[in-house]
């Protein structure tokens, strides 16, 4: 009889022979040595480029192209980077595509949970119905949540390599637009752009809506037009972009998402004035 408690209840060595640990890793007394160390994201692999968004008087318009690049290779041309959450919130993803897919699954489970724990109740009157049927998670709530997720992951030294734009309507049905990035940094403005768009499109958008007061005056048509113009400028000058893109408009009537838009009226006339690249000799 063995008097050591750790051996109790286990097959006895003197009858069955000692346990064959050879398939276990070395840390467990085995022979296997090829297990990998824990790894954290060090760089994005397959990436999406800029996301643009602009507030207008009654809602928000957001756009991103459908390209996922593998380095400088235009690897996937049908990746939709705008994800509608509910009828008053859309998230636009720039940066790593696999992390985008992870966040998309996270948002789906959040949506399921949200609808499970607080399903729409019995409405006694039309007034009640408006109150009961309203989705509880506003764009603002969603942004707070996503910013916490991003900050949690960077604190673990394992960031989700994305730049997010969260847009839609807040609790009071006012237009809402804010960003969160891989560091957990948050920011809010009447117009926003991630990635290369922050340099190329943001100045153009600010010309349309310099401040909150200007967005109150901005019509939906004007806002959509401004965003489309910026997508075109980005396609001219951003080498990781393409001419097919998604655009979503979020207002009181819900989310209107178009995922297969094409850039129109391109004019490359400016191109022959550009010198100093490729095989050109100036």
């Amino acid at each position: 009889m063995n008097h050591f408690p750790e051996a109790w209840g286990r097959p006895r060595d003197d009858i069955y022979g000692s346990y064959n640990a050879s398939y276990l890793p070395q840390s467990r007394g085995g022979l296997q040595s090829h297990h990998q160390p824990t790894t954290h994201t060090q760089q994005p692999i397959v990436t999406g480029t800029s996301v643009l968004a602009l507030k207008f008087s009654t809602g928000v318009v957001i756009a991103a192209d459908n390209l996922a690049s593998y380095g400088s290779l235009a690897r996937f041309t049908d990746v939709h980077r705008l994800k509608p959450f509910n009828k008053r919130a859309v998230v636009g993803f720039g940066g790593d595509v696999s992390d985008m897919q992870y966040l998309d699954r996270l948002l789906n489970s959040l949506d399921v949970e949200e609808n499970y724990t607080s399903p729409t109740g019995d409405a006694k009157s039309d007034d009640d119905r408006a109150l009961v049927d309203a989705p509880l998670m506003s764009a603002k709530n969603l942004h707070t949540y996503l910013a916490k997720v991003m900050y949690k992951r960077r604190t673990d030294f394992n960031p989700l390599w994305n730049a997010l734009l969260v847009c839609g309507l807040d609790e009071k049905d006012q237009p809402f637009l804010a960003s969160a990035d891989l560091l957990g940094t948050t920011f809010s403005a009447p117009s926003m752009a991630t990635g290369f768009g922050a340099h190329l499109a943001q100045p153009l958008l600010r010309r349309v809506a310099p401040d909150e007061a200007a967005t109150q005056e901005l019509s939906k048509e004007k806002a959509v037009e401004a965003i489309k113009e910026c997508m075109k400028v980005l396609f001219y000058r951003d080498a990781r972009s393409m001419n097919e893109y998604s655009v979503a408009v979020i207002d009181q009537s819900g989310v209107e998402l178009k995922e297969d838009e094409k850039l129109e009226n391109q004019s490359w006339a400016f191109a022959d004035r550009i010198k100093g690249y490729g095989t050109q000799t100036v």
Partner: protein
């Protein structure tokens, strides 16, 4: 000789299909002093009768504000209510932190309901010996929920739990149709009258033994005690004396002078 063999723990059914420990826990609620709650379209009100262990001691707290938008009233073991209220405070804060929104009352109620139910299903645990009324306003308007030690939760327009609460419930049932369109002040009066109906002949509501909790659409949940409620007590029971018709200078029959 005829000792009950089925009440030793909360996991054993009696042959009649009862779980005695849970029923005993519900008795603990009936020993607690009475609390009532009412909601209108715009407000949620809690009213509670506080008890003191002896003349010289202070009164036991009956209403606990949890978050800025809601609070609870308890009947039963105050120590169990403390555990539950701490849990509710923590959950409410978590909702504000992660989503930036006040927690739904239906949500927090089902969370403590789940917690209480697990206690009735595990050997070595006991049910909570406390009943709660949870009242306040959230994104879906004003609400009142009742929580019982068994883990049962119900939403109601008005409700009362605790010792002699049947009398209070009778009052509430009689006036049920009025509550929906009541103003804030009317709702408070109804709650105080319901509370008073459950008192025994020799007891009265005073500024010392009554506490009120009020929440509304444009108003954070707040507890009122002591001199803050003197005005309500005065106006409420002045009117009642004359059968709903307020008569000036009927100081004679006032129930506050003691």
């Amino acid at each position: 000789m005829f000792r009950n063999n089925y009440d030793n723990d909360s996991v054993t059914f009696s042959p009649q299909g009862r779980i005695f420990q849970v029923e005993y826990a519900q008795e603990a609620v009936k020993q607690g002093s009475v609390v009532v709650g009412i909601v209108s379209k715009t407000h949620a009100v809690l009213a509670a009768l506080k008890r003191n262990a002896e003349e010289l001691s202070s009164y036991q707290r009956k209403i606990i504000p949890i978050d800025t938008h809601y609070g609870i009233a308890l009947a039963g073991l105050a120590s169990d209510a403390r555990v539950l209220s701490n849990f509710m405070k923590q959950q409410s804060l978590a909702s504000r932190l992660t989503y930036g929104r006040p927690i739904l009352l239906s949500d927090i109620t089902s969370r403590i309901g789940d917690r209480a139910q697990t206690n009735t299903q595990h050997y070595g645990k006991r049910p909570y010996g406390v009943g709660l009324l949870i009242a306040g306003v959230d994104a879906r308007g004003p609400h009142l929920f009742e929580f019982q030690p068994s883990g049962v939760t119900v939403e109601c327009v008005a409700g009362g739990i605790g010792a002699r609460s049947q009398m209070a419930r009778t009052y509430l049932e009689r006036n049920l149709d009025e509550f929906e369109n009541c103003s804030r002040e009317e709702l408070i009066k109804h709650a105080l009258r319901a509370l008073k109906d459950s008192l025994s002949q020799d007891k009265e509501l005073t500024v010392d033994n009554t506490s009120l909790g009020v929440g509304g659409m444009e108003e954070n949940f707040k507890m009122y005690e002591g001199q803050d409620i003197a005005g309500w007590l005065e106006t409420t029971f002045e009117n009642k004396q004359e059968g709903g018709q307020a008569a000036e200078g009927s100081g004679e029959g006032m129930e506050l002078d003691s």
